[in-house]
């Protein structure tokens, strides 16, 4: 299986990363090399094998539904690219 240029552009769009034509071509050939490597594991018969999502098969810990975080808005907004009146600014989304 080989990827084509449209695949690269599609995933770049999904990942919200701007790529120009030259970059897309360079990435395409490297991605195909990597998928060549990945192919080895696709032929393995894994019927009956449970997917392993955690190294120790522990289940997610639950905590009490209580407020644990303190208000740190000022500290967090101090490092934001653009804020005003305690709000994060982005380009206009709704006309």
């Amino acid at each position: 299986m080989a990827l084509d240029l449209d695949d690269v552009k599609r995933v770049a769009h999904l990942a919200r990363i701007a790529v120009d034509e030259t970059e897309a071509r360079a990435v395409l050939s490297q991605m195909n090399d990597v998928f060549g490597l990945i192919e080895q594991m696709q032929a393995v018969n894994t019927s009956g094998v449970e997917p392993m999502s955690h190294a120790l098969d522990v289940t997610q810990r639950l905590r009490a539904d209580a407020v644990t975080e303190t208000d740190q808005r000022a500290a967090f907004q101090a490092i934001a690219p653009q804020v005003e009146d305690g709000l994060y600014l982005v380009p206009k989304v709704i006309e």
């Binding site: 393995v44 999502s53 955690h54 690219p81």
Partner: protein, 485 residues
């Protein structure tokens, strides 16, 4: 003084032969002299370091000293430290002054350690050479034309060049062990879940694990005592009784069963590497260890599995960098989507973008089962091989890396060649097992070779004891790079 271990520096501090301020200055002076050449550190803050050192001296004077009190330790720039620039080697975070401490940083601070600086690394820990950093490549003190390995290459090179007595690292596919091997130091990736990932910038969350890097196994144990511990803020942190990781240092290795997987001893590694590893095994037999042949039949699938799982998890973790709340924002954009696209295109380097694209692809509609779920199933097969092997042995040995330090630029344009550096280290990450690298010799070019020790779950104390006994019988860990007296 800069050649001393943490253990002996701790004794010097306790005997009042040196203060933490003096010790911190010694290392800061060495950094100021040598960092231009090696590029180990991204950020230094002498005032902040010396402030911590003064506090450590006061704590000691007040009789409140702990084993690490006053010891300067370098932090990999993946760990958030309050008030410190924390870049993760990326332009994306080149303006990110962390508003909080990682759990590891909190614990080391509470133990009285001094943050010596933030070390250079592959961008977002994605790399095996420390060349993908936005801050330029790190150089290996054994030969400045070669790489120190990665991604914790700044930490490794700093410890090897005696710019720091110890450092923190993180290991997703070998990022503690491989640079430790390539620079002739020791590094331990603990059992997954022992060291909290809170404040440790995420790459592939089911694999990432923080750990210590130092010059002796004994020092790794001292650091583990401070770094490991339950933290409710990391959902994968394990709730276990605290343990003393130095408790088995004095235990003889006689009768210990060493598993030698045939897959580690095939034609994969360089002759100079295998010669040193074989010599170490022979010496360990001389110390009374037994060797057992074992097999990890699915090991060849570990790298392919890793390059599905790690990019998939990375593409999800790195979605947070959008140029809105913190980090880099592109100067010009037309609308919100354009702001995202340009901030991410300009803020991430080539390797990070490549992995995000691979990860996005394998998680995308129609491919999820064929790639991601299949990789998780094969991951279990790789883990089961270890379960079988550990029925017959106490530790598994082999090379850490197939080669010694390679030249800068040599593998930068061939991702697959770069990825194969981690062929021996990735299996332990997939299984969640502890893995360690300790120096075991040099190749024909005079470059260090690392011996990898993989233990069963939670057997860190046993592994460190084993490594310590080997280090009592050898002096590879005491060798210094050329020019380091």
């Amino acid at each position: 003084m800069h050649n001393a271990t943490l253990k002996s520096l701790s004794a010097e501090l306790a005997a009042k032969r040196v203060s933490s301020v003096e010790l911190t200055r010694i290392f800061l002076n060495r950094i100021n002299k040598l960092n231009d050449k090696l590029n180990c550190f991204i950020t230094l803050d002498e005032d902040a370091s010396l402030k911590q050192a003064k506090a450590a001296d006061r704590a000691r004077a007040a009789g409140r000293a702990q084993p690490l009190t006053g010891l300067p330790i370098a932090q990999k720039d993946i760990f958030c430290a309050k008030g410190w620039l924390t870049t993760c080697g990326s332009k994306m975070l080149s303006n990110f002054v962390s508003p909080y401490d990682a759990h590891v940083v909190e614990r080391l601070n509470a133990a009285g350690a001094v943050i010596l600086g933030k070390t250079n690394m592959d961008e977002f820990a994605m790399g095996s050479s420390s060349e993908t950093s936005y801050y330029g490549p790190v150089r290996n003190p054994w030969d400045p034309d070669t790489v120190p390995g990665g991604s914790s290459g700044g930490s490794a090179a700093a410890v090897a060049a005696r710019l720091a007595p110890a450092a923190t690292g993180t290991d997703t596919g070998g990022s503690i062990r491989q640079p430790a091997a390539l620079t002739g130091i020791c590094g331990l990736k603990p059992t997954y879940g022992l060291v909290s990932r809170y404040g440790m910038i995420a790459f592939a969350s089911s694999l990432d694990q923080g750990g210590p890097m130092a010059r002796t196994a004994e020092d790794l144990g001292l650091l583990m005592n401070a770094m490991a511990g339950f933290d409710a803020r990391d959902s994968t942190s394990l709730e276990r009784e605290p343990e003393d990781y130095t408790r088995e240092l004095a235990k003889p290795v006689k009768g210990l069963r060493i598993g030698l997987p045939k897959e580690f001893f095939g034609a994969g590694a360089a002759a100079g590497v295998m010669k040193a590893v074989d010599a170490a095994i022979a010496q360990l037999r001389g110390l009374g260890c037994e060797t057992v042949d074992v097999s990890l039949p699915n090991m060849k699938l570990a790298v392919p599995v890793y390059y599905v799982l790690a990019p998939a998890e990375a593409s999800s973790n790195l979605a947070r960098y959008d140029g809105v709340r913190y980090g880099y924002r592109a100067p010009d954009y037309s609308d919100l989507t354009d702001l995202y696209r340009k901030s991410r295109a300009q803020g991430f380097g080539a390797e990070v973008k490549r992995r995000i694209l691979i990860g996005t692809y394998v998680l995308s509609h129609g491919y999820y089962d064929a790639y991601y779920i299949q990789a998780q199933r094969v991951r279990r097969l790789v883990a089961r091989d270890f379960t079988e092997a550990f029925k017959r042995c106490d530790v598994i040995l082999g090379p850490t890396s197939p080669g010694t330090a390679f030249r800068l630029g040599e593998k930068m344009n061939d991702p697959v060649q770069m990825y194969l550096n981690d062929i021996y280290t990735i299996p332990a990450n997939l299984a969640g097992l502890p893995g360690m690298s300790i120096p075991c010799g040099f190749d024909e070019k005079g470059l260090p070779v690392g011996l990898q020790v993989i233990g069963n779950y939670f057997s860190e104390a046993r592994m460190l004891g084993f490594a310590h006994q080997y280090q009592l019988a050898t002096d590879w860990h005491q060798r210094t790079p050329p020019g380091v007296e």
